[in-house]
């Protein structure tokens, strides 16, 4: 084989090796896709696994996202509470305030990961629907607390209308 032929052979082998490597099933890091209306997930305010995630402004508990679920789904085998406390959090993606429902995931031992306690707009336990120190596993088959999700349930109206008076019930 001539000098030229040997060089061409080496070149072909290198190209073939490069193509082969590109075709191998390797994991390629890609930034998480930006959900419509949500902040950039590569920022803390847009990362459901971070304490700074915008929906968690009044959460108190283990993030379901870190415990087998997501920020809107409970971990396997748990049961999502139907009764919740509410927060009003500002979405940095659109600047609007949203009503967030913090549903507890119930019926399993504590998730134990990503404990987050934020108290923006949180109120004492006599304003029950705004308190995050209550175990909200109510209406479920077990009150055992596992973790918490943060679900958007509406666009917030003004603060005055949101703070209803639960203390004027019948006597």
């Amino acid at each position: 084989m001539s000098w030229m032929g040997r060089s061409l052979g080496i070149l072909c082998a290198l190209v073939l090796a490069g193509v082969t490597v590109l075709l191998l099933p390797v994991v390629r890091a890609e930034p998480p896709a930006v959900q419509a209306g949500e902040p950039d997930p590569s920022t803390p305010e847009g990362d459901p696994g971070a304490a700074e995630y915008w929906r968690y402004c009044a959460i108190d508990g283990y993030l379901a996202d870190c415990c087998g679920g997501t920020h809107t789904t409970c971990p396997p085998g748990t049961e999502m509470s139907t009764v919740t406390w509410l927060g009003t959090c500002t979405n940095p993606a659109d600047g609007k305030d949203y009503v967030i429902s913090y549903n507890d995931c119930c019926g399993k031992p504590p998730g134990g990961r990503c404990f987050v306690r934020r108290t923006e707009g949180e109120r004492p336990a006599y304003v029950t629907h705004k308190n995050n120190d209550i175990n909200w596993c109510m209406g479920t088959s077990s009150i055992a607390y596992n973790s918490t999700v943060a679900v958007v349930v509406g666009v917030a109206a003004s603060e005055q209308s949101d703070v209803s008076d639960p203390g004027t019930g019948e006597e």
Binding site: K108, A125, I134, N135, A144, E159, Q160, T168
Partner: protein, 447 residues
């Protein structure tokens, strides 16, 4: 025949063959030597043999309880331990169930009560809520009253349940999220009834036949019972604070017949329950303008405590922005309730470093300067302080705790001097109770 040999020769007065009289003396001396040797042997035998002991012995708590004993809850191990704040000895513990292990301490009976919630299969199955009765000396369960399975499970220690001031009845707060209280006759050990309390939550002692609750509109609800424990009156006051603009926290402290509530913005509201009608005093500020400019705020899981005899209020404070009402404290501010003046600022030490309940302490016996360096290193670990309580004796102790530690910080409550760390064996401390009026100890204080 006797021969003078070796080391025994010094006992002999002279050498040679002994005369009969001498032989007699020698016999006496050898008898003395034998006695001494037997004595030594006997003494050795006495040290080796211990007295035979009985198995199956179980300790009981000495009575009356010391005012320097503390019950400390652990949400991880679901228990509350009793520790002596003087020497750190663990004296016993009580198991909890779902939620925090918070007990009730009657003054008149040697009993303890704890509301508990359990499932028949651990995390599922049949739910049972009960008020468990314990012997306060033996710490053994001696009775129970089954409650409606509605008990509120709270992550803080105030207002979940209460004793009437004469220890006759207990009230347990329910949340489903409809609100109510369950009444238990503690003498008869029977469930009396569930009292609906729409819009009002938590429960605080307010007399022999009365309980107080906080309502969502800033009012106070008084629930009055008859001699059988049945509700005869529910009276709602006018709102005494604004729950929207400046709500009070649930972590109230009692001073005699008066309940003290601190608001998010640092105002102290007083509710005098000595009469038939509650009397509300004009709130006063715990913070000066300079304090507010420096962003000092009240906050914590149990941030108020009162020493009854001296009328001193202890308030846990931190520097932070709005809505930091549950942030841990960095200082403890001391007030005279009678004159409404601040007496002292106490910079808090951390409550001690622990891992899995074990204290992390090192370097005390190292040579200088490494011992000082180790001490500085341990003291500089920023462990949040969530709770403060004070004993009610004449030499009161301040106790601080935080959920990130199984340690307690102990201070002289009169001069603020840090005294020592006490380690509870808890993985996390949440639920600090100093039951001063408990079964014969010094009277007064929060229960």
């Amino acid at each position: 025949m006797f021969h003078r040999v070796g080391c025994f020769s010094f006992f002999l007065r002279s050498g040679g063959v002994p005369a009969p009289a001498m032989r007699h003396h020698l016999r006496i001396r050898w008898s003395l030597i034998a006695l001494v040797l037997l004595g030594i042997a006997g003494a050795r035998t006495g040290r080796a043999d211990l007295e035979i002991e009985q198995t199956g012995q179980v300790a009981s708590l000495p009575q009356p309880p010391s005012p320097h004993w503390a019950w400390v809850g652990d949400p991880v191990q679901r228990r509350s331990v009793l520790v002596d704040l003087e020497n750190g000895r663990m004296l016993g513990n009580l198991a909890g169930g779902e939620g925090l292990a918070i007990a009730l301490f009657p003054r008149s009976r040697r009993e303890l009560y704890m509301p508990r919630t359990h499932y028949s299969r651990g995390d599922h199955g049949e739910r049972v809520d009960a008020l468990i009765f314990f012997d306060s000396t033996l710490l053994t369960p001696v009775g129970e009253v089954i409650l409606p399975p509605k008990r509120a499970i709270l992550a803080f220690t105030s207002g979940g349940s209460a004793l009437s001031d004469d220890d006759r009845f207990a009230a347990v707060f329910n949340l489903t999220p409809a609100t109510s209280i369950s009444i238990v006759d503690l003498e008869a050990r029977t469930f009396v009834e569930e009292v609906s309390t729409p819009g009002c939550s938590l429960v605080y002692p307010a007399g022999d036949r009365r309980f107080a609750m906080l309502c969502g509109n800033g009012a106070l609800l008084l629930v009055t019972l008859d001699e059988a424990g049945r509700v005869v009156e529910r009276t709602r006051s006018a709102p005494f604070f604004d729950p929207v603009k400046d709500p009070v926290t649930e972590k109230a402290a009692r001073w005699g017949e008066t309940w003290l509530f601190a608001s998010f913005e640092g105002y102290l509201y007083s509710v005098d329950l000595s009469g038939a009608e509650p009397r509300f005093s004009e709130p006063w500020s715990l913070l000066s303008e300079a304090d507010r400019e420096a962003s000092w705020r009240i906050g914590g899981t149990r941030h108020l405590a009162v020493h009854q005899a001296t009328g001193r209020l202890y308030s846990l404070v931190h520097q932070g922005g709005p809505d930091t009402h549950k942030d841990a404290g960095s200082e403890l501010w001391v007030y005279d309730l009678a004159t409404r003046t601040r007496l002292q600022r106490i910079e808090l030490e951390n409550p001690g470093l622990t891992f899995m309940g074990l204290p992390i302490e090192f370097g005390k016996d190292w040579i200088w300067p490494f011992n000082r360096l180790a001490g500085w290193l341990l003291a500089s670990v920023p462990i949040p302080i969530d709770e403060v309580q004070v004993t009610q004796d004449a030499a009161p102790l301040l106790v601080t705790a935080g959920t990130a530690s199984g340690g307690l910080g102990i201070y002289d409550a009169l001069n603020g001097e840090f005294l020592r760390h006490i380690y509870t064996g808890n993985m996390a401390n949440l639920g600090l109770q100093l039951p001063s009026g408990w079964a014969g100890a010094a009277q007064g204080g929060n229960r």
